[in-house]
């Protein structure tokens, strides 16, 4: 089935449901809509960005309580309180995010558990919040002079908001900042190499999720016209997460699917379990918990992928390859690009790189070689900013790199690849390459969500296509990156680095693990890049591979420079022969 037809059917069903369905189901659909908003945030945060929050219910509560208190006790307009609620959520979310997300993976969920519990007790304790009995008499929302008092009327309001949110998040995921969020699961080193700040990007995803939850809470307060702390406890926080896991992260519609399935299951269980067990109690939580564990064990991507098989998504139309992005001014051929002077790196007592000095000039292909453990990769990491040198100087185009972050170094014009390929497996090849052009675009989250980024987006994709043609992989543009063999994935990485318009291309053991034919193709590509005037620093341990390829060689052994010069001279050097052959 065509996805557009399916979408029209879904929207049609949502549109006529309240006219034909009994009131009970309209109520249920209202809740599904409200839950979908929260689950959508978690799809973005957990499914896509690889972070999680158990405190989403607290953000829902924040939205609900802010409007309930301000409208009933201070007579403010619900529209004004919406802005205030979103503002508070933004501040809280940002604060929690920057505190926890600059570190490893598991501090945000812990902080959100604590935050969820604190806010729950706070809502139940503060007297002007009505304690655990809550606040009644929350006014109805007036939209264009029309008071939304009946459930059937509010239904349309909720679902228009939900569809708008789905549209925005789908737009976001398919854009420059969205690709950055989708790349987060690959680890900080990769995203930083393209100028993406991982902590800030994760915080952005968390704040968006929090804002959606807050919006849902605001809607809830004006639908119910009453709030108390119960629906904002930590249990509900887990149910939201359950919805997101059930739906899965392959599409924003997973949020709606998850919200619908969990809500229906819960209603059904609450009817049947007490009859089965013979007493009342929240026994549905047992079933939910078991199902959640089983899902994570057997279907970690949720249920949507099973349904999506029936709706093959046609490949999107891409702009033709083009060159519409601004370029850097490249240095004149032969001028110094990289100047490594007595660079040193120590790990405790171990000197991994011992006062290494070499340089790379514009238009040159230089090979940094040495046997295993020679310090090549450490040296590479010092230049790319993944590690910081202990002493010495590394100048790139006259700028000192030591002390600069990987993403600042990327901004200066250094493009790199990874020894262990770091492509985003679930994105297409062209999207992966477009990630490389991140720093050459400018449109942010808001513009991208609202599709105000079409020119920017088209230029980035055209550039990605241009680089794919340059490396000869244009035919694979629509394939998922993880479907390619290793040799092609390495070349995609080169295309991604080229998309950043680098002055210097750093290749980290590009031939490692490749078959002979793949090595030949790679060598041909590097030669053709050299023919175009590209400056390349190549780290390799395969002497044969670099021999016919490079202008100059720098040989490291035990962290020290052993030799440098023309390939033939280096090959004949007795010290090098001894290091490589041990004879």
């Amino acid at each position: 089935m065509n996805p557009r037809i399916l979408l029209a059917i879904v929207v049609g069903v949502i549109g006529i449901a309240p006219m034909v369905a009994p009131a009970f189901y309209v109520t249920l659909l209202n809740y599904i809509g409200l839950y979908s908003l929260v689950a959508l945030g978690l799809v973005l945060l957990t499914g896509v960005a690889g972070q999680t929050s158990f405190g989403q219910a607290a953000f829902v509560g924040l939205g609900a309580y802010t409007t309930a208190v301000l409208t009933t006790q201070y007579g403010m307009s619900p529209w004004f309180t919406l802005i205030i609620a979103l503002g508070i959520t933004l501040a809280v979310g940002y604060l929690l995010g920057i505190i926890t997300l600059s570190m490893g993976g598991h501090y945000l969920p812990l902080a959100t558990i604590a935050w969820g519990i604190s806010l729950y007790f706070l809502m139940g304790t503060i007297e002007s919040f009505g304690g655990f009995t809550g606040i009644t008499g929350v006014p109805a929302v007036t939209l264009f002079g029309f008071k939304l008092e009946k459930e059937g009327e509010f239904y349309y309001f909720i679902w228009i908001v939900v569809l708008a949110a789905l549209w925005c998040i789908a737009n976001l995921l398919d854009s420059r900042p969205g690709r950055a969020i989708r790349a987060l699961k690959q680890g900080s080193t990769m995203v930083e190499a393209f100028g993406i700040h991982p902590g800030r990007t994760k915080t952005a995803a968390f704040v968006i999720a929090a804002l959606l939850a807050c919006l849902s809470g605001w809607l809830y307060a004006h639908l119910q016209r009453f709030v108390n702390p119960t629906p904002f406890g930590i249990n509900q926080g887990i149910e939201y997460l359950f919805m997101a896991v059930v739906g899965g992260a392959v599409s924003v519609w997973g949020a709606v699917l998850g919200a619908a399935l969990v809500t229906l299951l819960k209603t059904w269980l609450q009817d049947w379990l007490p009859k089965l067990i013979g007493e009342a109690g929240q026994f549905e939580i047992i079933v939910f918990g078991v199902l959640l564990v089983l899902l994570l064990q057997y279907a970690r991507d949720g249920l949507l992928p099973y349904l999506q098989r029936f709706v093959p998504i046609p490949p999107r139309k891409l702009p033709a390859a083009g060159d519409r992005l601004p370029h850097r001014t490249m240095p004149a051929l032969g001028t110094a690009v990289l100047d490594v002077n007595a660079a040193r790196k120590t790990f405790g007592g171990l000197v991994a790189v011992n006062d290494v000095t070499f340089n790379v000039n514009s238009g040159e292909v230089v090979g940094l070689i040495g046997p295993n453990g020679a310090g090549k990769s450490t040296c590479f990491n010092l230049i790319s900013g993944a590690l910081e040198a202990s002493a010495g100087s590394i100048k790139f185009m006259g700028t000192e790199l030591i002390g600069k972050s990987a993403s600042d170094i990327a901004k200066l014009g250094l493009g790199r690849t990874f020894q262990h390929v770091k492509l985003v497996g679930t994105m297409t090849v062209v999207e992966n390459v477009a990630l490389g052009a991140y720093l050459r675009g400018s449109k942010g989250i808001i513009a991208s969500s609202l599709r105000l980024n079409t020119a920017d987006e088209a230029a980035a994709l055209a550039e990605a296509m241009r680089q794919l043609e340059r490396v000869g992989l244009a035919a694979h543009a629509h394939d998922a990156a993880n479907s390619l063999p290793l040799g092609k994935q390495r070349i995609v990485e080169i295309a991604r680095a080229l998309a950043s318009d680098p002055i210097l291309l750093l290749l980290d053991e590009p031939a490692a693990g490749l078959r002979y034919a793949e090595k030949q193709q790679l060598a041909a590509l590097i030669k053709s890049l050299k023919g175009e005037g590209m400056t390349v620093l190549l780290v390799e341990h395969d002497m044969d591979f670099v021999m016919g390829l490079v202008d100059r060689l720098v040989v490291l052994n035990f962290g020290q420079k052993l030799a440098q010069g023309l390939p033939e001279a280096v090959q004949a050097d007795p010290a090098v022969r001894e290091a490589y052959l041990g004879a």
Binding site: Y107, G187, S188, I286, G289, V293
Partner: protein
């Protein structure tokens, strides 16, 4: 506040803190070996109290049914896992379901024979400890290589299942157990109860034993190796599944003993474990989920903060304790360097 109230609060805080400390130790232990942030730790505590309380009221503890439910699930899971190699089913069942069945039999036996307090305590510890390996086998072993995040979600799900089962098998009423000792001492005008001393002594010895176990024994090093690199540990002859099961068994045993210690101090309900466990958690985070002595100090600090805030702002006690985690996290984020998970 005068001196006598302050000493009372301090003693109260120290006792609770010592119990949080035990939980913090169990959390650090489980995290260090399995990378699981073990949210259900508190449930073991609650189940121990409710089991012992049922014994004392001459009722058959719901633990029997809970254990049998876990055993049934384990049998089902092993059968499905090894459906193509029936020979292995029996051995696997012996490892995961059998301890639960034996423990259930012990509980039933102690109840039926109306045995004395000592045997009741023993049966309580045995029954709760037996849940550890079954929980690991059912929930965590199949996802053992998953990212920390997935493990955390599984962990929270397990917490909800256990809480629900607790309600089902123990009911909604709270319970208190009798103290091990009613003696008390007076030191310089300050009364110290024997029960508190017992708590301090047990906690202190466990901190030392655990620290030493992981630092100096080959077995402890093997468990740590599993946490660092499952494949590597396996190649070196350490079974990661065994390590995981062992760490949860130890955690469950620590939980059971914590329950025995906390039972006479507060009324415990089927869902009390969560908040108690989380407070241990705040302590564990102070130690970065890595250091036993720092986690212990953190947990005692949480106990003291809780005791004093219950005096000054009792309604906001929980709010204060859980908000405390934010400055702690901020401090940790400023002082620790982050290593990426590859």
């Amino acid at each position: 506040m005068d001196f006598s109230i302050a000493t009372l609060l301090a003693q109260d805080g120290l006792t609770n803190g010592a119990i949080y400390c035990l939980l913090a130790l169990a959390l650090v232990l489980v995290f260090a070996v399995t990378r699981v942030i073990f949210v259900p730790q508190g449930e073991f505590v609650a189940f121990a109290v409710l089991t012992l309380a049922a014994f004392e009221q001459n009722k058959l503890p719901g633990t029997v049914w809970l254990l049998l439910a876990l055993a049934a699930a384990a049998v089902l899971s092993e059968t499905l896992t090894y459906r193509r190699e029936p020979a292995r089913i029996l051995r696997a069942v012996a490892g995961s379901a059998l301890p639960c069945v034996v423990a259930a039999a012990v509980v039933w036996g102690v109840w039926a024979s109306q045995a004395g307090f000592a045997l009741q305590v023993l049966a309580t510890v045995v029954s709760v400890t037996a849940m550890g390996p079954a929980v690991y086998r059912l929930a965590f072993q199949p996802v053992a290589t998953a990212p920390v995040l997935t493990l955390l979600i599984v962990s929270v799900a397990v917490h909800f299942v256990l809480t629900g089962l607790g309600l089902l098998f123990f009911g909604a009423e709270g319970a208190r157990t009798s103290a091990f000792t009613s003696t008390s001492f007076s030191v310089g005008g300050v009364n110290i109860s024997g029960q508190s001393l017992l708590v301090y002594a047990f906690t202190a010895s466990l901190v030392i034993i655990m620290g030493a176990f992981f630092k100096y024994t080959l077995f402890g090093k093997a468990l740590r190796a599993t946490a660092a690199n499952r494949t590597g540990a396996r190649l070196a002859g350490v079974s990661p599944n065994f390590a995981g099961r062992l760490s949860l068994t130890l955690a469950a045993a620590i939980g059971a003993i914590s329950g025995l210690l906390i039972g006479p101090i507060t009324t415990v309900y089927y869902d009390s474990g969560f908040l108690v466990g989380l407070k241990g958690f705040v302590g564990a985070i102070v130690g970065g989920l890595a250091s036993y002595p720092i986690a212990a100090a953190g947990a005692i600090f949480v106990g003291l903060v809780e005791a004093f805030s219950s005096f000054w702002a009792s309604a906001y006690k929980e709010v204060i304790v859980f908000t405390l985690i934010l400055p702690i996290l901020l401090w940790r984020s400023l002082t620790t360097t982050h290593h990426e998970e590859e």
